[in-house]
Symmetry: C2
Subunit: 237 residues, 2 copies
DNA sequence: ATGCTCAATATGTCTATACATAATAATCCT
DNA sequence: AGGATTATTATGTATAGACATATTGAGCAT
């Protein structure tokens, strides 16, 4: 008669997952409210809340006040991607990191950059290009614009020794940002720098970071051919 | 004299973020323990715990029992990527979704597939290729292998009307998975199907999903040129 | 010194209770 | 009927107290 008791929020999460997978609670269905579940599982409501909140963060269920909790109709897979500093990325591959600044100038950004980096009042910005190397081989070509209104201190740096990525992280932290991933053909210039052929497929990551309401920097990172990003889906095995 | 009181876990998170950004707590530094912070902020320890746990999940701080909490030395940016079902992805673009199955056969997978899909005992698997269209234009070319030991029910499906992605989600849910993102040159076959040129840079997403310890399916999704993924960094603005 | 045991400590979690908040349902007033 | 107001309800969050658990470090034994 002893109902299996669920004591930890993990075990409750597992049981809820089981019921969803077993179609006891099919996609789109409402699931019982926290108070009822707590009674059924023989635990406090806060424990149920913890379990359901974690599931909501993973995108499997949707919760709204008063409306209750339901299994997501279109279960989006939510993957978390860890994006380390490039130096760490290289070191993690067991290679030695090296950095070479290519150019450094203050200039008016092209429109597609200006739109995103200084949408309010167009002004000059700092343009830095650099190459990150892994054991001597080109790894990432970086083309970066820095908003000097937001980060005036960057104007005093030449970024010859320390790369802009790490300097900015240490001196102009951001509050949030946006990342765009795409595949693009290498331009003549990119191909020359990355020692590959024009037209080669490059993995491109564009990062725009903000400090509260003000754009900080827009970086376009072109990875050398063969690069890939690996990420995990769902919870731990 | 009234110390500013921090009542909500959000406000505590903001204050901790402020101190980190202001270098009061520089990278690598230990931050006070929960009990002390709770006393300082005039709130319960559980509230501090909630705030710090959220920051730890975002990768900005690291926490270990007994050792305490410290600001991450190499702050990895943790981005969450929402990966919807392809139909939803197309609909969200304001286009009409269409699906066309291209091939369907039971066969021995090539070694690089077998290694990941049936690492224990090599056996035949279900091979399905299909094209997803957005308003009539090729959107994604899908090349999928399904492990029939894990999902025997898939053997009875021809996947002519319903695509494998949605059928599997509805009938063989997964517990976790792995996603690989890369840029690759279009092969002759891929180019023909996606109506582009061989060698064109394609955004490729490989998904391997598992049901507990058993691999379910390995899908290789080649997006038509121009596709990109957008994701957010950090918390809400 | 080296290895083991045990106590100290910071985070992890659970409980019970209370109040806050958002969103819906019901009701009342034209 | 229609629109504004109020009540209800489920989630969201805060609190104090308690115990669990991992980890470190000190002290002891070999």
């Amino acid at each position: 008669m002893t109902e299996p008791q669920f004591k930890t929020w993990q075990s409750i999460q597992d049981e809820v997952l089981r019921r969803i997978h077993a179609r006891e609670w099919p996609p789109g269905a409402d699931i019982p409210n926290e108070a009822d579940l707590a009674r059924e599982f023989g635990c406090a409501r806060a424990t149920v809340n913890r379990a359901l909140r974690a599931l909501a963060e993973s995108g499997l269920i949707e919760r709204r006040r008063k409306a209750g909790t339901r299994v997501a109709l279109h279960p989006v897979s939510r993957a978390t991607v860890d994006i380390p500093v490039i130096r760490q990325e290289v070191v993690a591959l067991g290679k030695t990191y090296d950095y070479r600044r290519l150019s450094h100038a203050q200039a008016m950004p092209p429109t597609h950059v200006a739109q995103r980096l200084c949408p309010a009042a167009p002004s000059t910005a700092l343009h830095v290009t650099a190459l990150h190397l892994a054991s001597g081989a080109p790894f990432v070509f970086e083309d970066r614009w820095i908003n000097l209104d937001t980060a005036p201190a960057a104007g005093t740096q030449d970024f010859l020794a320390t790369n802009a990525n790490e300097w900015l992280l240490a001196h102009v932290p951001y509050t949030h940002g946006e990342i765009r991933l795409s595949a693009e053909a290498a331009s003549e210039n990119e191909a020359r720098i990355l020692l590959t052929d024009p037209g080669a497929p490059l993995f491109v990551m564009e990062r725009l970071t903000w400090d509260h309401a003000r754009p900080v920097t827009l970086a376009r990172l072109c990875y050398a051919p063969g690069h890939r990003i690996v990420t995990q889906l769902g919870t731990a095995p």
